[in-house]
């Protein structure tokens, strides 16, 4: 009975796609973990150290894996006509989340290429900024996961994401203020300012994801 075998295949496909989406979202957590490690390795041992190089390699591998998962998920959603009324929302959510990992990888590569000089006065705020950005990402991911599992928690995580993103902005501004108060050459300050801004942009992107999920949720509960 070809019709029924199609139905069962469709149902099992829906389960495996759901699992792929969660694996994809895990890559964002992993990528941020590696991103923080990368900065720590840079601060302690410099861009030419073995620790920095291997961490950057791992970050790139995570990015590649996430890209493959993204393609697989989008492909299955459209090929198998899963969640037909929401698949474009889910696909755009995956696309946006993928950009989060790409951004971290790009910052890592620029760190390797540009090797900016980081004055000791800003190190603490830099690590704090990375932590707050991590919190923003974590809550944006919780918000995204809730969209798939429990709609009623979406708004709660969305609000927390907004709060952490605003904290990230504050830490970033403070770090830049301290940076420009140091006696480093202006060229170094401007270069490092770009890095602070890029890290802050990761938090902005996480907030964008959370915003988008919140709108998708409103659409779903209508």
């Amino acid at each position: 009975m070809f019709g029924f075998s199609r139905v069962t295949s469709l149902l099992s496909q829906s389960k495996s796609t759901e699992a792929s989406i969660y694996t994809f979202l895990e890559q964002v957590t992993l990528s941020h973990h590696k991103f923080v490690q990368l900065w720590k390795a840079y601060l302690r041992h410099g861009a030419d150290s073995e620790e920095f190089k291997s961490t950057l390699d791992e970050l790139q591998r995570i990015e590649q894996h996430a890209d493959n998962l993204k393609r697989e998920i989008e492909n299955t959603l459209y090929r198998k006509t899963l969640i037909p009324d929401l698949r474009s929302d889910v696909a755009s959510l995956i696309e946006l989340t993928d950009r989060l990992i790409n951004k971290q990888e790009t910052i890592g590569l620029h760190l390797d290429i540009e090797k900016p000089l980081i004055p000791a006065e800003v190190e603490e705020d830099l690590l704090l900024l990375l932590n707050v950005v991590g919190d923003t990402i974590d809550h944006a991911l919780l918000c995204a996961k809730s969209f798939f599992t429990d709609l009623q928690r979406v708004q709660e995580y969305h609000k927390k994401t907004i709060m952490f993103e605003s904290d990230a902005d504050k830490v970033c501004t403070r770090a830049k203020t301290i940076l420009f108060a140091t006696d480093q050459p202006l060229i170094n300050k401007v270069q490092l300012r770009y890095f602070f801004d890029r890290i802050d942009q990761v938090a902005n992107l996480a907030e964008d994801i959370s915003d988008r999920v919140s709108i998708f949720t409103l659409k779903r509960v209508q």
Binding site: F2, G3, R6, V7, L11, K15, E18, I83, L86, D150
Partner: protein, 347 residues
């Protein structure tokens, strides 16, 4: 079976084919249109269930139609079915929504007028009242079902993919139930007029006796199934979003409400249990599945305060009024031609 009988039955088979092509869309249209269920799966389930519904429970609604006009000559039955089928065909061709039930009732009244037989006002009013009751009942059922589904989702809080999975299963089950009800309720439209006139003997197959009506219903339901496979895909892909935007869950509610209403108007045992409880018997009348679907859609639209495309709705209502009149007229003219030009006994 004699070849002559097949020729006479051909108009009924044509009507069955057009019913399959049009009304399968009411059962599986939203599921296929929203891409939740593949057409081949829908067509297979629909065909099997229509046949089962027609053969097992088709008799109830057929009796009422028989009471409206006792078409006893095969030539008359042929013309009645042909004029109904032609009306359905032309209405569909001009893009007007049409009900096979209304077409056949109109044609029977046309036969009554031609043959000089009186149309029983009691039976006619019973049929007309169900035409009004059907969409209203469907609207109430849809509102109730929608509230029930919304409450269940709030209570169980299923995940996105889990909900998608359950909606798919629900759409298939509702579609199967809807197809069974469609077969049970609407087979009377297709083959009802031939029950009195077709000279078919009872047959025994695998120890089960099949009455002439059952055999006619089987042949008619096969014609419906062919209509489903050959022509309904196009209709299925265009139905659904015409009146209000549909989500898979509203699609399920609509199909389920439609199926329940059709089942109510065709189930002899349900009617009997009503009587046993001291309630009035349910009129077993072939109702329009399109009317049931439209009633359900309007029910949801009113509940969710969605904008209804009134222009489309008024066009649909116009179709409901025009169909029986046009069909009665076509039947009257058709009977005149068949009797005088082809020298066939029609009364």
């Amino acid at each position: 079976m004699d070849i002559a009988i097949w020729i006479f039955l051909s108009s009924g088979l044509f009507l069955g084919w057009s019913l399959g092509a049009n009304d399968a869309a009411n059962v599986f249209g939203t599921a296929v249109g929203t891409r939740m269920v593949k057409f081949s799966t829908a067509a297979l389930i629909c065909s099997v269930m229509v046949i089962l519904g027609a053969v097992i429970s088709g008799a109830g609604a057929s009796h009422t139609l028989g009471a409206l006009g006792k078409v006893s000559a095969l030539g008359g039955a042929f013309t009645v079915a042909l004029s109904a089928a032609t009306t359905v065909y032309f209405m569909t061709k001009s893009g007007l929504p049409v009900s096979t039930g209304q077409a056949i009732v109109g044609a029977i009244i046309g036969w009554n007028l031609f043959s000089g037989m009186a149309t029983d006002p009691k039976v006619l009013s019973k049929i007309l009242s169900t035409w009004i009751m059907c969409p209203i009942l469907a609207a109430f059922t849809a509102v109730l079902l929608y509230k029930l589904v919304a409450a269940s989702i709030n209570w169980f809080r299923p995940g996105l993919f889990q909900l998608d999975k359950w909606t798919r299963i629900g759409l298939i089950i509702a579609g199967a139930f809807g197809s069974y009800s469609l077969g049970a309720n609407n087979i009377a439209n297709v083959m009802g007029v031939f029950v009195l006139s077709a000279p078919i003997d009872s047959a025994v197959w695998m120890g089960i006796e099949f009455s002439p009506a059952m055999q006619l219903f089987f042949i008619g339901s096969v014609a419906i199934s062919i209509g489903v496979f050959t022509y309904s895909k196009k209709v299925m892909l265009t139905v659904g979003d015409n009146l209000i935007p549909m989500t898979p869950i509203t699609a399920w509610v609509v199909v389920m409400a439609h199926s329940i209403v059709l089942f109510i108007f065709s189930s002899q045992s349900l009617s009997n249990s009503f009587v046993e409880l001291g309630l009035p018997a349910i009129p077993l009348v072939p109702v329009s599945s399109s009317q049931a679907v439209i009633g359900a859609v309007i029910g949801i639209a009113l509940l969710k305060r969605l904008p209804i495309r009134w222009a489309v709705l008024s066009q649909i209502l116009m179709g409901w009024v025009i169909t029986p009149i046009l069909s009665a007229l076509a039947c009257f003219i058709g009977l005149f031609i068949v009797q005088n030009l082809f020298n066939q006994v029609v009364v």
